[in-house]
């Protein structure tokens, strides 16, 4: 509908990302549920003066980069941190996990009567609340403040319950936001203007920058690419960190994602023979640390990056829009891309019905506002071939 192949790709990708995002209603439900859990888990701590407690989302839910699971039967996986403000010396990992687990078991019982009552399950590092309807579950990671770290640094219980794991999801998310701050502010203002609302009334989670959408595309491509081998999937934190570092502002979504994917491999550092993706808010932490023990994972990561770069470049290779849709469907999944293409078609019909669709002289290129207005008409006949009237 627009004049460059890149513009048309942006339109298709943009709608595809909307298909891959968590639906608004489900997002709202998840927020309501975790706030309910938070109130429950922290109710005692609030009675007692001093010791605080907080529940907050971390990872893709906090960053706005959630992607739909590849299989419809799989649920969205939302990570929550439960930070109990206890001194490190006063608690063992096993004790902390048990405490949070006991509280959650009480919550499970208290909520049992409600229609959306979750079921509690124990995982290696966390507790999981599985909500009915097979749509999402929440992993709740017990944690305490990190006395040696930054104010928002936390210690998480480890799989082995031996050494604490350092983490800082709040500062990481703030770093990610800073990377896209300018575009975020501009987009939010534009949305407010379009909706005739105050900027503050546009919820932050509804604003999606090209960085967030690019990360969603990268993650989805990875999920499809590593479908048969999910253990070798590069971690989302590695992708997200490299993408945010490679991003240099908004623009055409297709061009931004192609540019980011092109730069990402060179942003993986090599320090004394070790691959490094430093945590931007904790320089001593290497997100790629596991590649030391599993060098094949580094190789798989670089192979995947090469693949996605080829796939993205291929999209402008011509051969018809149908071929582009098919290529994108192979990369990002059949259903979301097919739905997106149908929406692109429906949008074209809507533009014509609104009297805005035109055709350019010389080429026949359709577009909003092009010279010759496409008059309303009905494609004759039903889907099967017919005789002429």
């Amino acid at each position: 509908m627009r004049n460059r192949p890149e513009d048309q790709l942006e339109q298709l990708l943009d709608v595809t990302v909307k298909e891959l995002d968590i639906p608004d209603q489900l997002y709202q439900e998840a927020v309501d549920n975790y706030e309910g859990v938070g109130t429950w888990l922290c109710r005692r701590d609030e009675d007692e003066a001093g010791a605080g407690c907080e529940i907050y989302p971390q990872g893709s839910f906090r960053l706005g980069t959630v992607v739909r699971p590849v299989h419809n039967r799989d649920e969205y996986d939302l990570d929550l941190v439960c930070r109990k403000d206890l001194a490190k010396e006063s608690v063992t990992q096993a004790g902390l996990k048990e405490d949070v687990g006991a509280d959650l078991a009480e919550y499970e019982q208290a909520a049992a009567a409600s229609a959306s009552a979750p079921t509690l399950k124990e995982g290696d590092r966390c507790w999981t609340l599985v909500y009915p309807g097979d749509r999402f579950h929440m992993d709740i990671l017990p944690s305490i403040p990190d006395p040696e770290g930054a104010p928002n640094a936390i210690l998480l219980t480890d799989r082995t319950l031996r050494s604490w794991q350092h983490s800082n999801p709040i500062d990481y998310a703030a770093w990610f936001r800073r990377r896209m701050q300018q575009e975020f502010v501009e987009l939010r203002e534009a949305m407010a203007k379009a909706l005739r609302r105050d900027v503050a009334d546009v919820p932050e989670w509804q604003v999606k920058t090209t960085l967030q959408r690019a990360v969603q595309i990268l993650k989805r491509h990875r999920d499809i690419f590593f479908q048969g081998n999910p253990k070798e999937r590069p971690a989302s934190i590695i992708l997200t960190t490299l993408a945010a570092r490679a991003y240099h502002g908004g623009g055409n979504l297709y061009e931004v994602v192609a540019d980011i994917a092109g730069r990402m491999p060179s942003l993986v550092e090599r320090r004394d023979g070790v691959w490094w993706v430093p945590n931007p808010v904790h320089g001593k932490e290497n997100f790629a640390d596991r590649w030391r023990a599993h060098p094949e994972r580094a190789a798989r990561f670089f192979a995947w990056m090469e693949h996605i770069n080829t796939d993205l470049a291929d999209l402008t290779g011509g051969g018809g829009f149908d071929r582009v849709i098919e290529k994108l469907a192979a990369s990002l999944g059949e259903a979301p891309v097919r739905n997106a293409a149908e929406r692109v078609g429906a949008a074209m019909l809507a533009e014509r019905a609104a009297g805005r669709l035109g055709m350019a002289a010389g080429t026949g290129m359709l577009g909003v506002g092009a010279a010759t207005r496409v008059r309303d008409h009905t494609f004759h006949g039903d889907p099967a071939p017919r005789r002429r009237p």
Binding site: M1, R2, N3, R4, P5, D7, Q8, L9, G318, G319, G320, F321, D322, R323, V324, I325, E326, A329, R338, A341, E342, V344, G345, A346, M348, L349, R352, A353, L357, G358, M359, A361, G362, T363, G364, M365, L366, A371, T372, R373, V374, R375, D376, H377, T378, F379, H380, G381, D382, P383, A384, P385, R386, R387, R388, P389
Partner: protein, 136 residues
């Protein structure tokens, strides 16, 4: 050449209007019939299609895709084409011989091509304002 009746445009008038918009396309009049052959690319990612439109005074124009050959989907015939392969672009009454082909038939053909490419990939024709009738 038979003079046009009731406001119907003559093949020559249709040819002139087409030439104004598509100067590089070929518009010939043979035995009172206009034969227009032009290349249309409906969207930036679309193929370039060679389209042939033939029309006599007071008759419905016939529109065929000369190149490339239109492909159907497995077990699904092409939607919105007549048996002889012409494109079905409008319902009865939506086109009159007093209308310029360049302003109606050609943009509709472009739209048909754009929707054809989406249909080819998805199996769904997105430009039906109403539910499609049951195939014959």
């Amino acid at each position: 050449m038979t003079p046009p009746r009731g406001g119907a445009l003559s093949p020559a008038q249709q040819g002139l209007a087409l030439r104004a918009r598509f100067p590089t396309a070929s518009a010939r009049i043979t035995r009172g019939r206009l034969v227009w052959t032009g290349v249309l690319q409906p969207t930036p990612l679309s193929r370039a299609y060679t389209i042939r439109i033939t029309c006599a005074t007071d008759a419905h124009p016939r529109v065929v895709v000369a190149h490339p050959t239109l492909a159907s989907r497995p077990d699904e015939p092409l939607p919105h084409v007549y048996r002889e392969g012409c494109l079905c672009l409008y319902e009865d009454g939506e086109w009159q011989p007093s209308m310029f082909i360049a302003e109606t038939i050609v943009p509709w053909a472009c739209e048909w091509l754009a929707h054809y490419e989406i249909w080819k990939a998805t199996g769904h024709w997105c430009a039906d304002g109403r539910a499609p009738a049951t195939p014959e």
